[in-house]
Symmetry: C2
Subunit: 230 residues, 2 copies
Amino acid sequence: MARTELKLLGAWLSPYVMRARIALNIKSVDYEFLQETLGSKSQLLLESNPVHKKIPVLIHKGKPICESLIIVEYIDETWSSGPSILPSDPYDRAIAKFWGTYVDEKWFPNLRILTAEGEAKDHVIRTIVEGLDLLEDAFVKISKGKTFFGEDQIGYLDIAFGCYLGWLRALEKISEVKLLDEAKTPGLAKWADTFSSHPAVKDVKPEVDKLVEYGKSPEAKYRAAKAASS
Amino acid sequence: MARTELKLLGAWLSPYVMRARIALNIKSVDYEFLQETLGSKSQLLLESNPVHKKIPVLIHKGKPICESLIIVEYIDETWSSGPSILPSDPYDRAIAKFWGTYVDEKWFPNLRILTAEGEAKDHVIRTIVEGLDLLEDAFVKISKGKTFFGEDQIGYLDIAFGCYLGWLRALEKISEVKLLDEAKTPGLAKWADTFSSHPAVKDVKPEVDKLVEYGKSPEAKYRAAKAASS
């Protein structure tokens, strides 16, 4: 396939964009990565995702696909040039999707409030740790001794949750609190190391120090305040 | 399959439960419908969905599946005893899921604020009408002249959006404002009639007058106020 037939609109720091990039790497699919400028939106983005105006957008042969987990499923269903990303069993698929929705709707919204302080900071940390405890239990149940969530290769839930690891490490640095703790969540701690050094992940994951730098910027503080009040 | 092997935890007024019931009807699958008492949660619900403690939960051979749209997909993938619910083409599937997510995350949260008054009411009505305009455009594009969203039979997006029609009609009665307007959204208006009288839908849809009665109750007002402030 010509590289120009597949474009991904994204940005280096977005966990959602990272999902699409990992899925494309797993399938060894070549694509054109068009980075949006932070704080503005390209004409192509506005035209491709007029409802939400958000990255990532995958444009395949001129047709846009939006929403990161929908993009991951689309990539899995469209290219057979690599291992399957979704589990093959319907029940396992339902469980992977359940936790994928959980991290997006319940867990990450707290992580977004990177620069909270005082009581708000305590609340954010507590909620994130509670979520990690739930995810540790889920990992033990789903992985059944395997390396990843259910398989010996990276799959849907690894991608859905793993894309947040950079931001989790950044929050640890900013808040000076260890969150993914080997003593409390040994399964996840080991999984996180294996995930982050995987060939499909290591070149598309953002540098934690850069995220910390961005997390402390006025723009990030403004966005975090907006997230906290919404 | 023995009826006891498949249980659905639900309640008559929940649009999310209705999704699972329509999908099971489409596949002609028999199940035991266990209704939760409004305002309390059964032990079985707490054990089956410990993370969210919410209906619907489908329990298949003792294994719980949560989240209504994940349940619809699970039903589609597990039973071949009726027409497919998800579109067969990966791109069409991505589009159906995109709009399914849109109605859940952006559109229905406004509809929940049934009993808003004054300026808040105006805002709710305006946002719902804007959403219906977007959905009318989507319907015209996706249906391409067919009866439902993309097919001549009820599918994923019909179920995802159609389950809200009862509440939309209830809001029309409570607010005395016509929302699904034949002049403005002729495609959706016709679709809504066909959907509501479909054999898989008509016996599981809630009566609008009962929803209006519930919508005016103190419990509903409390829930609406909570939704508005969250």
